[in-house]
Amino acid sequence: MIKFLKDISIFSFLASLFYVALVVAWGELMPPFLRPNLSDRTILDDNILLTLNDLKDAEDIDVLFLGSSHTYRTFDPRIWKRYGYNTFNLGSSAQTHIHTGLLLNQYLEQLNPKLIVYEVYPDIFGNDGVEANSVFLSYDICLDQMTEVVFESQSVKSMNEMIFARYRNIFLLNDTYEINLDISKQEYKGNGFVERKSNVFSQVEPFLRTDILQSQIDAFQNNIRKLENANIPFVLVRAPVTQIEVNQFPDMNAYNVLMQDYSEFIDLSQVNELQDSIHFYDFHHLNQKGVEIFNPIFIDTLLQLNLLKDTYK
């Protein structure tokens, strides 16, 4: 038995070294389709780098937007600027409540917002966070806090990405990275907003709902507590989605009641002025035509509810 335990220990140690070395080699040498469990900047959307760059200079803003891709594709700081508000959009792909919490830890003090718009897309409560892990790890976002998140996610993909991210971080390889953007479909427009061209969607795909995860509920409640403790006004918002998606949602009312228990909640998933075939580029993201219509309506709603002041100057 002793020999067995000794050999297992040596094997585990050597296997770990070998594994790390191969992950690094695969990440550097293999094309994306041959490394399905290792995403990096060459696969992901580099627009987040522009967001991070703008974030360096952002402080004392009026409104901060947090949430998933619905956030950075819906709340357009240029439109808010027209109304006199200085805003920043800190949304990211499939950002879960766990990742929102990391961003609050890292940037809340610096940004010091007067109001936070926290977008709460229902499916995020069932999201395992692997996609958001890829973004955070690949772009060195809150990297120091990510180790715990990765271990809790129990995802081998996230583990691989953490190994690769640490390697690139230690050897400063990201410092020489050149941003690679395809602007044919979308373009970064400043302060975290990515404008999607006004093409419309053609194919409806079956929507897969996942079970709610307790870890996401816990993280969401922590975020709420964090904002309450910081005395920062905030509002929970459901961003617009198509009628097709609304119809597929099992119990919209129960979800809305639940959200209202936590805070001021505005359900904007159905806005009369928005039409599926004109204002969305897929069945749950607005295109720019939709964004132009939606933001003034949203600002007006916030003003009417006294959640937004006429001016913060």
Binding site: A15, Y19, F33, L34, P36, N37, V156, M159
Partner: protein, 483 residues
């Protein structure tokens, strides 16, 4: 608790450590601990159905004693019937009740009757078909006087509930497995290492092959009309590898885990996709089930010693029951029936035992004839898997019609082609490794041919890496848990 979960990755070392640390406390304590560990393992899924395992264990433990205690043949038979009635009764209620009710209603609906009975809204208990068959075989063997009944309740309960093979086999015979609970287990370094090696290969087949294939299989079988014939064909081939990777992967993990605890389980898969005809395939696929049906159904019916026509009947009966064992659905029955139909010509021509050796024994490359035989057999198996995988017979017909369409010659097209390419590559790696190991008892057994330890370890490192880099991010439960 799934074998490919983090829960099991923690559960296994903890149970292993406690199990061997109490080795000196006596056999009863060690068996009692195995029972507790096994019940915890099962309760992780749903504790409410633990009662069924206990019921099945108690009934067969007591009945076997009664059978042994009496010399009157009719009385012995009565007790045997009680055991079979209870075990099959559990199966009938939990697994087949709704199927029978549905078919009775369908028949009566021809005469204008509406809904006659209410359905049972119960979940199918995991592994029910496996442990009921295992306990039944015990009682039948006692009845046949092949074995004596167990006097030790701990060893018997541990035999029924042993967690590595509790929920999806191999379905062990009491004559082989029960005695192992009655002797002191000694830790064997070679056996334990062999177990870990087999677990590793099982994880590769499950997490890399089966779970990745499942993504495409689910997509194609959900909407066969949306894809070309060539794409559907790939879907069917993927399902063949999904079910093989899933179930043989599970068996490898189960057998490997048992080795860590000092037990030897029977081989359940012997490289079935390298078979040269259907008869050989069935000697190599789910061996513990097919041999169970051979010993407890086929032979009692007279086997092949009752004349050609009765033997044919027996073959059909066994294959149909085997199909029905997999689930309460006509698709499984038709699947069994068609397998019997493919087996039939071999039996009539007395060629059903032509291929009992290993293909291309002692050679690296098979002959052209062997290759053609293997390809034809695999093609037939794939065709039948379509029926097995479909929800209804109509769905299966739609899928098969979809394949044999003019679009069969078109370039396959489906989304996420990138990952499909990696999946193909992994299937090829699996086939190569298994081909080189086909004279061993499991896929990675061929590694033992490497004399250098560092080379062997290098192989394990690479497989570990492949599991980490290519395992699916959408893990599926084990297919055979539902049977």
């Amino acid at each position: 608790m799934f074998f490919d979960s983090f829960d099991f990755a923690l559960f296994l070392p903890v149970v292993f450590a406690i199990y061997w640390s109490i080795n000196r406390c006596g056999l009863r304590i060690q068996n009692a601990f195995l029972i507790i560990a096994s019940y915890v393992f099962y309760a992780w899924w749903d504790w409410k159905f633990l009662g069924l395992i206990v019921l099945s264990s108690v009934v067969d433990f007591l009945i076997a004693k009664e059978i042994f205690a009496t010399a009157i043949r009719s009385k012995r038979r009565q007790w045997l019937y009680v055991s079979i009635f209870v075990n099959l009764g559990i199966l009938a209620i939990f697994k087949y009740f709704n199927f029978f009710i549905g078919n009775i209603e369908s028949t009566f609906s021809l005469f204008g009757s509406e809904k006659l009975f209410s359905r049972l809204d119960w979940v199918l208990p995991v592994g029910i078909s496996f442990y009921t068959f295992q306990t039944m075989s015990y009682t039948i063997d006692v009845y046949r006087e092949k074995i004596k009944p167990s006097q030790d309740v701990f060893s018997f309960f541990a035999y029924v509930s042993f967690f590595p093979q509790l929920v999806a086999g191999p379905i062990e015979r009491a004559s082989n497995f029960l005695p192992q609970f009655k002797v002191e287990r000694k830790f064997d370094y070679g056996n334990a290492v062999d177990g870990l090696r087999q677990i590793l290969w099982g994880l590769f087949k499950k997490m890399v092959i089966a779970d990745n294939c499942a993504i495409y299989v689910d997509m194609f079988f959900a909407e066969p009309n949306a894809y070309s014939g060539s794409t559907l064909l790939i879907g069917a081939v993927f399902f063949a590898f999904q079910i093989y990777g899933d179930f043989s992967g599970y068996s490898d993990i189960a057998i490997g885990t048992a080795k860590l605890f000092g037990f030897n389980l029977m081989q359940n898969f012997a490289f079935p996709y390298f078979s040269r005809d259907i008869a050989e395939f069935w000697r190599r696929w789910h061996i513990s089930l097919s041999s169970w049906f051979r010993d407890y159904v086929y032979i009692p019916l007279g086997g092949s010693r009752v004349g050609k026509w009765f033997a044919l009947r027996n073959i059909f009966v066994v294959f149909i029951i085997c199909g029905f064992w997999h689930g309460a659905n006509w698709t499984f029955i038709v699947w069994g029936l068609l397998n019997a139909a493919l087996y039939l010509p071999l039996y009539l021509l007395d060629r059903n035992r032509k291929h009992i050796d290993t293909v291309a024994y002692g050679k690296v490359i098979p002959s052209m004839k062997e290759l053609i035989h293997m390809s034809l057999t695999f093609s037939l198996v794939v065709l039948l898997w379509i029926i097995f995988r479909s929800d209804t017979i109509d769905d299966a017909i739609i899928y098969i019609n979809g394949i044999f369409d003019t679009s069969l010659l078109s370039v396959p097209s489906f989304r996420l082609m990138g990952n499909a390419g990696a999946t193909f590559l992994m299937i090829i790696i699996m086939l190569l490794v298994e081909w080189l190991s086909r004279q061993s008892s499991y896929g990675l057994g061929g590694v033992l041919k490497l004399s250098s330890r560092s080379m062997r370890w290098l192989c394990y490192f690479v497989i570990l890496f492949l599991v980490g880099m290519y395992s699916s991010q959408s893990p599926n439960g084990f297919i055979y848990f539902q049977f």
